[in-house]
Amino acid sequence: MIEVSHVSRSFGNFRAVNDVSFSIPTGQIVGLLGPNGAGKTTTMRMITGFLSPSDGQIFIDGEDITKAPVESKKKIGYMPESASLYGEMIVEDYLKYIAEIHGENAAEKVPALCKECGLKEVMSKNISELSRGNRQRVSLAHALMHDPEILILDEPTSGLDPNQVEDVRAIIREIGKTRTVIVSTHILSEVETLCSRAIIISGGKVVADSPIEELKERFGHELSVKLTVGAKSFDEVAALLKTVPDVDAVNLVKNETAGIAGTIQVLVSVNGTAEIRPALCKKLAEKNVDLYEITLQTNSLEDVFHALTEAK
């Protein structure tokens, strides 16, 4: 259980995080989303105790982290964005060192983690010789060393190849069943596939915080249909399409799509989840309007993200 209460953080005159509050119960995987420089890393650094907040408080299991920093840090496994580790150390030695600091049994724990994170081939290599992907895995093994109740991962999949990304996500999903996980990312598909809840940060403020499905519903219609039709004016098409049942709104996308003269591309928003494509086609055929293209679109988190972060 993490509770962040009215937390702010300034660096000189720059306010990186501004009055952020949220609380995360055990057993939830939460995506911390935001453009670069939004304050994701700063927020995570404050939860892990690397930075202290300028204002506000952070509680881990009801305990203020500034009052019991060591106890709080014991509950947290943290994988920093840069995955910067001691380059001159051998992977195995490094993991043993982390095990010793946590008071874990290295002989048991290190081989288990090596298997879980797929580090078998690189165990005897110097950390500085590892590829970025492998370094991320070492960093993940580091974070998992003491079976933490809370796992905080700062862009865990950045710089990995697609197979590695899938591996890391599988590990996160597995852990997320019983623990609290915060994942920061700017890859939206990651949040959609991994997290049950998203907190979107922009300009140091929380601009949205809700379950993924709810976010999509709240910030846009779930379905819309993109049409390219032959027509002279947009108004004409809009008036026609609005007569079809369940059409909520018609918006112009652009004129002369794909260089075909006399075409217009429009976006038709749908009420609820009704299937309106056949009705649209019929209506267009009735009025002898040429149809070039028709596509159904599901609103993605991406649209929500753009809508929320670009306005700022």
């Binding site: 690397f50 060591v70 840069s82 001691y86 030695d93 600091i101 946590h102």
Partner: protein
């Protein structure tokens, strides 16, 4: 949970061991130690061969100056490197207190500087074989050298904790150590009222009196408080870096 905790090793020693391992597995330690021994060896053996003197007075006389250069070279990387690379983030988010980290690193650099000093005991052996050295000043000299190592290590650690740049850490620590070493040479230029104060803060004055074989509590107090001062400043610097 409780039996898990009882197994936990003291993080200070875990951190110290890691530091020592990384120091002795890299080239820097050997280069610095080697250079230290070459320069001191030149001085000792030139007196030995040219003037037929088997004594360590010159060696101890130059030691505070030597250590002002060589200890900062050992300590400069300790925090700066971690801050530059970013591994400080991984270190400080482990369940350890700032004082554990600073103590672990301090003990490591102290051991490193003593390891650098240890081969000079060979000069004592040489002096014993070819002459009849007075052991009072030698024991005093090494005792004083240990105190200087302790104090300069703390100074070096502090300089390293305030910057990401190893060169700045080195120069800052060297400047402080050299100032403490040479302040006594400038005492003649100072007005009477403050001479006493500046002579008290001079490391070489205190080292000189210990290395004569005189154990005075004032000298001990001086080195202990100098070490403690910079040690505490380092802990403060680490705590403040969260702000």
């Amino acid at each position: 949970m409780s039996d898990k905790k009882s197994k936990a090793k003291n993080p200070v020693f875990v951190i110290m061991r890691r530091e020592l391992k990384s120091y002795f597995s890299g080239p820097i330690g050997y280069i610095v130690t080697g250079l230290f021994l070459v320069i001191n060896g030149l001085m000792f053996f030139s007196a030995f061969f040219l003037y037929n003197r088997a004594e360590l007075r010159n060696f101890f006389g130059m030691l505070p100056v030597m250590l002002s250069f060589f200890i900062p070279a050992i300590t400069m990387r300790v925090f700066s490197e971690e801050k530059r690379v970013g591994s400080i983030e991984t270190l400080m988010t482990l369940p350890v207190r700032e004082i554990d980290v600073v103590t672990g690193k301090y003990l490591a650099v102290l051991v490193e500087s003593l390891v650098m000093l240890a081969p000079t005991l060979f000069y004592v052996v040489t002096a014993e074989i070819f002459g009849s050295p007075d052991y009072g000043p030698i024991i005093g000299g090494y005792l004083g050298a240990i105190f200087i190592c302790a104090a300069y290590s703390a100074i070096g650690l502090f300089s390293s904790s305030i910057t990401k740049n190893q060169i700045i850490a080195f120069v800052a620590a060297m400047a402080i150590c050299l100032a403490l070493t040479f302040v006594e040479s400038f005492l003649v230029f100072l007005p009477d009222g403050i001479v006493k104060f500046f002579s008290f803060i001079s490391a070489s004055v205190h080292f000189g009196s210990i290395s004569k074989g005189i154990l005075d509590t004032r000298d001990l107090l001086y080195f202990v408080s100098l070490t403690a001062l910079f040690f505490v400043c380092t802990v403060r610097a680490e705590v403040n870096s969260k702000r």
